[in-house]
Amino acid sequence: MVSISKKMCLIGDFGVGKTSLIRRFVDGQFSDKYLSTVGVKISRKNVTVVGQDAVSSDLQLLIWDLEGHTKFKVIAPSYLQGSKGALVVADVSRPETLERIIEHLDLFFSVSPQGCVIIALNKIDLIEPEKAIKILEDSKNIYHDQVLSIYNTSAKTGEEVDRMFEELSKNMS
């Protein structure tokens, strides 16, 4: 029985792939079908993290899949209460979702100033590798001092998904 549980949230615009990233990480699956999330749904996943002291510890992750930000509805701050970490997700094929990363960061830090954040630039399978690299570089230039790291991910291919979740788990205290 794992005794330590930790809460993390996935926030971002609608349709960027939050639910898909969780599904990929938790179940190792992916679906092309889109079912927009309403409210919040929690998934659990037990992970073993190796800390800086080389001691490994078991951890239960409570992963909050929040509804996406839309023109009509913003993310309720109460969902973020008590979350030590967040994944801010954007869709590289939709520039406006990249532009809104800053808003999501601000929202998260306003609730949890000490929390740690990773940015997931998702759906990189949809664009040219050169373009993906450029977007990653640009994002790093803007956000590098606010976030733990930034990943180019794909829920579809699974690229970087596990690594990203592991890094966030390790750094949430």
Partner: protein, 656 residues
């Protein structure tokens, strides 16, 4: 908890839990467990976060509420998805018991089923988001298509069924020079100038700056949902350059063909002008060439014109012909400079200063090309022919042999390529003219040479000579040679003037020439006052001796007649004849002189020099041919130099 409150909650169908400050469950309403993530954990005494992990991390919140620092806290729309994918949505509402004074150690956790509302919301959000994503996709693909269209090298034009332009790509904008706004909703026939476009054939098109282009279009229909009739998509490739190159090549072939198949410049020129006008789309063409005027000045004159046939434009054509003659200023300039010239707009060109010309002719553009060739004259040709002088030396001097000028009723912008091609054609024609001049000169020269040859050589020999039999020397076995000498002529020459003497000799010898021709004999030469004629040469004939006998008798007759007319100056003739073998041939390379050699010739000459005035002395050999038909008298033996004694006879008369 207050009973009334409990009843009220039950009446609303709400479930609830009560917790202490640490999150331990104190009481549970009967239906509360179904909201739990793990329902079995939703029991009294258990930590709330076991059943409701959503509350993990909210320890501070619980304390704050108990302390009265925070009135309440809510989490809405928490989803529980069952194994069979059925969604349950509920809200959690945390607050302190309103009946109890704070601080307290008891919280109420209200659970409200909002599935129905949230399911409805879900489908609304789903719809809205999907539409949003779709629009985004559409925008991306439109961008993509726009990018393809923009980067397409081919021209793309979309029109509605009426031919109104709806879309153009960057290539079309660049090529035609209009802005997109200038094109949208205009007819496609603003750009395309013939109906060929519909048939998918190369079509003539016009840019904003009136440049003509040839574009090969492919046309297809574009079905859209919003319009009843399909739109038309034209994708066009600019083949102007390609076609121009082909056309120019054709023109050069055409010109080359004309020049090789026509014999004279006059035949070639109308065809050349026509070919150029057709191929390069000009309406009028003219050739001007320099001429020597009466006061020995060179002046450029109109030689030939060509007009595009168009009966409806008769009047115009007429005016244009006048117009061509007005182009003298331009033509003269080109003639002098030897450089081509292009006039885009005649109206504003000072060289066409006759206002009436511009007004009447409606001609718009013109260009003029010099015909460049070598300065060749007859002398050089002759030298080439005889001395084979190095060609380059003769042809090094280039001059303008003529000037071509072309006109159009349309504006033709300057076309450097066309000028280049035309320049080459100008050279081609120049060479043609040179060749024809050379041929003519050569022909004249040959004519002269022929006449000369015939004068001094037998016709058959002259023919053989012309056919370039360099050595002609032939032996004739049986010929009769006659020498006739005017006796005392040398003496006479002291008495009368040289011209009178030549005149006299001419008269006598002309008579002799007539006789030679009459008897079909061959005159070999005259040496001073001596006349030499031969029979049986170059055509062999049996009766050579008889023919010579006849001419000899007639020659004496000529002299008698002459003496009768000029009694104050009597002439007498001494004739010698011999028969035998001779060698005949031409000696000398520059001067062709047919001559005879051999002992027979020398003996004949001796017969004359040893003869008597008004007598015809013949050898035994000749006698043998004649005695049957002529009266001859034996002279006796005569001492002949280098021969010794010879029996000779005098020819008296023909036997009747």
């Amino acid at each position: 908890m207050n009973l009334l409150f409990t009843k009220m909650l039950q009446a609303r169908g709400s479930e609830y839990l009560t917790l202490n400050q640490q999150g331990q469950i104190i009481s549970v309403s009967p239906g509360a467990a179904r909201f739990g993530d793990i329902p079995e954990q939703v029991v009294v005494g258990e930590d709330i976060t076991r059943g409701f992990p959503e509350l993990l991390g909210l320890e501070d919140v619980l304390i704050a509420i108990c302390a009265g620092d925070l009135p309440d806290f809510s989490l809405t729309a928490i989803a529980r998805i069952s194994a069979d994918q059925v969604a349950l949505y509920f809200d959690i509402y945390l607050f302190a018991d309103p009946e109890v004074k704070q601080p307290v150690d008891q919280l109420i956790c209200l659970l409200e089923d909002v599935t129905e509302r949230r399911a409805l919301e879900q489908s609304l959000v789903q719809n809205s988001n999907e539409t949003n994503l779709l629009v985004n996709q559409l925008r991306i693909s439109k961008n993509y298509i726009d990018q393809i269209l923009a980067s397409m090298a081919d021209v793309l034009i979309v029109t509605n069924p009426l031919g109104q332009i709806k879309t153009v790509n960057q290539a079309a904008i660049d090529l035609f020079g209009y802005t997109e706004a200038e094109l949208i909703n205009q007819s496609i026939f603003l750009l395309v100038k013939d109906a060929q476009i519909i048939k998918g054939k190369p079509s003539k098109c016009q840019t904003k700056t009136n440049k003509m282009l040839v574009i090969s279009f492919s046309c297809s229909t574009l079905e859209t949902m919003s319009e009843v009739e399909p739109n038309l998509i034209y994708v066009g490739r600019n083949i102007t350059e390609l076609q121009r190159q082909q056309q120019r090549q054709e023109l050069q072939y055409a010109i080359a063909e004309i020049l090789t198949t026509t014999n004279t410049l006059n035949q070639a020129i109308p065809k050349v002008l026509a070919a150029i006008c057709h191929n390069l789309e000009w309406d009028l063409g003219a050739l001007w060439m320099p001429e020597v005027t009466t006061d020995e000045q060179l002046e450029i004159k109109l030689v030939n014109t060509w007009c595009k046939e168009n009966s409806a434009q008769d009047h115009q054509t007429q005016c244009s012909e006048i117009g061509i003659s007005y182009s003298q200023r331009l033509v003269e300039e080109v003639w002098v400079s030897g450089c081509p010239d292009w006039v885009i707009d005649i109206e504003n060109d000072p060289r066409f200063f006759f206002k009436s010309f511009v007004d009447q002719s409606h001609l718009q553009s013109a260009f003029s090309i010099p015909i460049i060739g070598s300065a060749v004259d007859d002398d050089l040709i002759r030298e080439t022919y005889e001395l084979e002088v190095d060609d380059e030396f003769i042809y090094s001097k280039q001059v303008t042999l003529g000037v071509m000028v072309f006109f159009s009723y349309k504006i033709h912008p300057l076309d450097v390529d066309q000028l280049k091609i035309m320049g080459a054609i100008g050279y081609q024609i120049g060479q043609y003219i040179n060749r024809k001049q050379a041929e003519l000169a050569l022909h004249n020269q040959q004519e002269k040479t022929n006449k000369l040859l015939l004068n001094i050589l037998p016709v058959s020999i002259a023919a053989r000579l012309k056919e370039d039999e360099t050595t002609i020397a032939e032996t004739f076995d049986d010929v009769t040679i006659l020498f006739a000498d005017l006796v005392g002529f040398t003496q006479l020459s002291a008495e009368i003037s040289a011209t009178a003497l030549v005149e006299l000799l001419n008269q006598v010898f002309s008579e002799f020439d007539r006789l030679t021709e009459f008897y079909k004999l061959e005159k070999i030469k005259t040496i001073g006052d001596c006349y030499m004629v031969v029979g049986g040469l170059p055509q062999r004939r049996e009766d050579h001796a008889l023919a010579i006998a006849n001419i000899a008798l007639d020659m004496l007759g000529v002299i008698n007649n002459f003496n009768a007319r000029h009694p104050h100056r009597p002439l007498s003739l001494r004739i010698g004849i011999n028969t035998g073998t001779v060698i005949a041939g031409v000696i000398g390379l520059r001067k062709f002189i047919y001559d005879l050699w051999g002992d027979t010739v020398n003996t004949a000459s001796r017969m004359e020099s040893q003869g008597l005035p008004d007598k015809i002395q013949v050898t035994e050999a000749t006698y043998a041919h004649l005695h049957e038909h002529y009266h001859l008298s034996k002279r006796g033996t005569v001492a002949i130099k280098g021969k010794g004694e010879m029996v000779t006879y005098f020819l008296e008369a023909k036997k009747s």
